[in-house]
């Protein structure tokens, strides 16, 4: 078994090389879509089965796999080594499992696209990078994966780069992630400086023996900043909704199920460091709550099917970070898993809808839900799976989303015993957000699949092919049963929380949550969230069933002035433009043009003129410039010697 584990890393890379380079070099291979799709899918599916086998045979001792030593500098040894433990196995299963399904789906979805081979090449490369991120046992390998998934995301968002907005969206994602990466690099430098190693286990051990001291706070803060970039939290979340410009399977795989959760994974991996810094935990929980509620409010006012799902993803990521902030790491990973199921299903379902709308050629924007409606009749499989996932994300018992979300809400409520604290406020915001989630998801589903058709009825949309609907059914099934891996503490005192038992060796949750728990509180919380979710879904469903699209006006009225803010996405893009980008550009421009004119060569202007004025003026300019240059050099020499002698 162990001998096969390196394949988990290597096969996707091999697949990417085969498909990408093969397609690039051999036009014949490029045309053979089924072969391309088959190779690419196999290179993800085989690792999935290997991980699954390892998962069920796992005996509790982490397995170390070292491929080769990358660099050795004195006492620092960085090797491509991977750690197979409970957490990485679970995450790896999610990534390769959902990844395989999305590969299968893409075979149908990308059919006929000119960049078919390129798409699958990138997709395999993404899985390779993601596996590095998950299984790497040190910061460097993890960071390579971290950068790699960013690069693939950048390439895939801009996949249809003929449209300028898509290329710009790709750049926005790239820049937002760079900011986060910078924090990550500084964190890595700090870690190396403090403990002389970049291994996760060494860092966790250093926290345990207290040698890190206050620095744990700075490291965890920096890593959280890095995570706000990759996992789309305030203030860096603006890139994710724009990233929906990429092909829909990409949105499902990268921007919903896997890459965006890597920040959460990393925090869970380093849970001792975070547990040692309560101040940072408070920051996390506040940022996460704000992100969740803001994104959920924006989602209500959107009319683009993918934009709603994108903001929903941001909001759900907020839930996961709230769990992390409360020290309930298992709950966060649990939600990562259930969210991967239902959100991937929703995105793939939206892809199926967009696919059908596009093929009718009668609507201007195939993603605008205002021109949909009544699709259930034409697309039964898509609509049923979409409904299941909608109910799951809304937290309807006993679907997967209920269990994971309930666990997060419970953890927030039980964090402390006081009636009025930051965590109680956060709990309240989270509960409110859960209600909002049910509202916007039900609205989306109602407007898309129910009611009257709002598109011209000259042509009918068609259900997608089986290669697209089968993954939908599998994901929907997982969205139904996935929650049973983590039954609430209430039932058998946590004995049936399989996930908790599984992750116990690598994750230490905040013990206060369990201590503060009581039967009464728990039953109250479960009843509350159940009632709120069911109530919100029913209320919204009835509203939109009765009024159809006109119900939007009622919602708008209910929110009053706030609705304009929601529609404008809280004007964050405009805000960043005004307070960051514009001043930065103008300061930069002004400073640099002063630089150009006064300090820099003057040759920037000069060389243009040189060509124009050969001869006399040339000579004049020339001598002028050289003495200019000499002056600068001499000034430098004088300054330097002056410092050396008198400084």
């Amino acid at each position: 078994m162990e001998a096969l584990l390196p394949l988990v890393i290597l096969l996707p890379l091999l697949g990417s090389a085969l498909v990408g380079l093969g397609g690039f070099l051999a036009p014949g291979f490029r045309k053979n879509e089924s072969l391309v799709g088959l190779i690419a899918t196999a290179m993800v599916a085989i690792p999935f089965f290997i991980i699954a086998a390892a998962f069920f045979q796992f005996d509790g001792t982490p397995i170390q796999i070292s491929l080769f030593s990358w660099m050795q500098a004195g006492d620092l040894n960085i090797s491509f080594s991977y750690e197979i433990d409970q957490l990485s196995l679970l995450m790896g299963m999610i990534v390769t499992g959902v990844g395989s399904l999305i590969h299968i789906y893409s075979i149908g979805y990308m059919h006929g696209d000119g960049g078919y081979y390129k798409f699958f090449g990138y997709l395999n490369l993404f899985i390779f990078a993601m596996n590095n991120l998950i299984f790497g046992d040190n910061f460097v390998v993890m960071f390579l994966g971290w950068e790699g998934v960013g690069l693939c995301s950048y390439l895939l968002i801009g996949f249809w780069y003929k449209d300028m907005p898509k290329a710009i969206a790709a750049q926005k994602a790239f820049i937002a992630n760079r900011i986060g990466d910078f924090a990550m690099i500084i964190a890595m430098i700090m870690v190396f400086n403090l403990i002389g190693s970049l291994n996760f286990s060494d860092l966790n051990a250093a926290v345990a023996d207290g040698s890190l001291g206050d620095n744990a706070m700075w490291i965890s803060l920096l890593i959280f900043i890095a995570a706000t970039g990759k996992s789309a939290q305030i203030p860096l979340f603006v890139w994710l909704p724009d990233a929906m410009a990429g092909p829909t399977p990409v949105s499902a795989l990268i921007h919903a199920a896997t890459m965006v959760t890597s920040g959460i994974y990393l925090v869970a991996r380093l849970n001792p460091v975070f547990s040692a810094s309560p101040e940072v935990m408070t920051i996390i929980v506040i940022v996460a709550a704000l992100t969740a509620v803001v994104a959920a409010l924006i989602a209500i006012a959107q009319n683009d099917i993918k934009k709603v799902l994108a903001y929903s993803t941001v909001s759900q990521l907020g839930f996961m970070f709230m769990a992390l902030g409360a020290g309930a790491y298992t709950a966060a990973i649990f939600h990562v898993m259930t969210h991967a199921f239902f959100k991937a299903c929703l995105f793939l379902g939206s892809g199926s809808v967009i696919h059908a709308m596009e093929h009718m050629h009668t609507v201007e924007d195939p993603q605008d839900i205002r021109t949909m409606g009544g699709l259930r009749k034409y697309m039964p499989a898509t609509s049923t799976t979409f409904w299941i996932s909608t109910l799951a994300i809304s937290g309807i018992i006993p679907l997967a989303g209920f269990f994971s979300k309930d666990e997060i809400l419970t953890s927030l409520f039980l964090f402390d015993e006081s009636a009025f604290s930051i965590y109680k406020i956060v709990w309240f915001v989270a509960t409110l957000t859960a209600v909002l989630t049910a509202v916007y998801m039900t609205r989306l589903t109602m407007l898309t699949f129910e009611g009257k058709e709002r598109f011209p009825d000259t042509k009918h949309p068609h259900e997608s092919p089986a290669s697209m609907t089968i993954p939908l059914w599998i994901l929907a099934a997982l969205a139904v049963v996935g929650g049973f891996l983590g039954l609430p503490y209430l039932i058998g005192h946590g004995e049936f929380h399989l996930l908790n038992h599984w992750l116990e060796p690598v994750i230490t949750n905040n013990p206060a949550i369990e201590e503060n728990a009581s039967f009464g509180k728990e039953i109250f919380l479960i009843l509350l969230s159940t009632l709120l979710a069911i109530g919100a879904v029913f209320f919204t469903r009835n509203l939109y069933r009765k009024h159809g699209l006109a119900a939007d006006a009622k919602v708008k009225k209910a929110f009053g002035g706030l609705f304009r803010v929601m529609e404008g996405k809280f004007f964050l893009d405009e805000l960043y433009n005004a307070i960051l980008i514009k001043p930065f550009m103008s300061i930069g421009n002004r400073a640099l043009s002063w630089f150009d004119n006064n300090i820099v060569d003057g040759a920037v202007n000069g060389s243009g003129t040189v060509v124009a004025n050969i001869g006399e003026s040339f000579r004049k300019l020339q001598s002028g410039l050289i003495s200019n240059y000499l002056l600068i050099i001499t000034t430098g020499v004088v300054a330097m010697l002056g410092y050396l002698i008198f400084g």
């Binding site: 390579l144 640099l592 020339q622 410092y643």
Partner: protein, 491 residues
Amino acid sequence: MDLHLLGSDTLAIAPLLLLLGVGLLIMLLDSFRVHASIPWLAGLGMLSAGAWAWLAGPSQSQVVFSGMMEAGGISPLVTLFLCLAGVFTVLFVPDYLARHDNKVNDVYALLVFAVLGMVLMANAHNLLMTFIGLETMSMCLYIFAALFKTDTRSNEAGLKYFLLGSFASAFLLFGIALVYGITGTLDLGELSTKITLLQENKALFYVASGLMLVGFLFKVAAFPFHNWTPDVYQGTPTPLAGFMATGSKMAAFVSLGIIIEKLELVSPAVDNRLATVLALTAFLTMVYGNLVAARQTNLKRMLAYSSIAHSGYVLLGLCAPVFGFQAILFYMFIYTLMNIGAFGLLGMAEQRMEDTDIESWKGLGKSSPYMAGAMAVFLFSLAGIPPLAGFMSKYQVFLSAIREDLVVLATIGILTSVVGAFYYLRVIFLMFFQTTEQPSTLNLRQKMAPATGIAVLVLLIILLGVFPSLILDPIRAAFSSDLVIEMASQP
């Protein structure tokens, strides 16, 4: 001195003699009008000189020729690197010159002599030899800049480079003279035993070392001695500009590194002021190079400013003794590969002046995907994006700086390299993500020799990014066998 010793001395500098012979032979062949084989001869000559140095050079460091030259230790590896820079350059030159109707075959002789000068400079054990090597190299480079006799831009470049270069050489020479004045010797080995004497004459020593530093900083284009770079590179035939930006810098940095190690210029125990100057220069160079590069609209000028920025990173490595020196040798080798590649490719595309404008590279990803892909590899690597070699070299330098507790400087370096990534990526963005109505006007010729060069460079950059130890291990081994540097670094 007995004859046996002379024999082994000669053997120790055989690569230099080989280079000299090849250079002279080329001039001879040229006068006999045997043109076709000249580029081959130059390339093979440099390749065999490098290979000879590396394979047959003495393993332990020793001083030869009455203390003038050093053999063994790091010198075989440095010789190999410098010769490889020449070999890669020669792959691009014939095609470029043919396209510009220039048939100056002397250029190959000059190229070989330039490499000779660089090797001389980097292997010198006496400051006088350092200076002679530097001047041999510089003379050849001045002519490169002015190679296109009828082009005003080239004339401008040659004149500017010559005047400013002489100015800088004078500083270096003056500094060397002062060192001699204090100690009565120019032998680097003897100098390292007279550090206390140098320290006693503090003011004079500062002036001497400061002036020497200026000479080197000019050659490596560090702020504020950089301003010749963009103009000169722009006027120089593009592949030769690539050579200028890499080989001469490598030689100058190695030479400066040796002087720093032997005179303990940045050793914290002895003196901090020179270390401060070096650190400040590194800081200014990194910031300046990257900021101004981002403003360029001409690819050649952008690469020129980028080479200034890269000098800043190497200077950062120099601030960290021994480990930093190892790191910068690695850095300079990788940098040589990427830059010769980028300049070479630029030269392959260049027909008219506008061809070096960034705008005209728009949409190249569609019209010539292979070449655009290769350019993307060079630029990604220059930007320091893993897993390419450029990342690894930056990483080594930053790591060595952090080991010496230069955390602030290293952080600034990382920050500026993030800024730097912007202008490299802009070109890639234009090539691949910007489609214009009409296809790119660039006519990328794919002649055998330059295309092979590009392919080899791309492969090396990827290979060394994944397996950096292929080069790092030999470098480390060379340093551990270099007794002089090892000894000098002991407190």
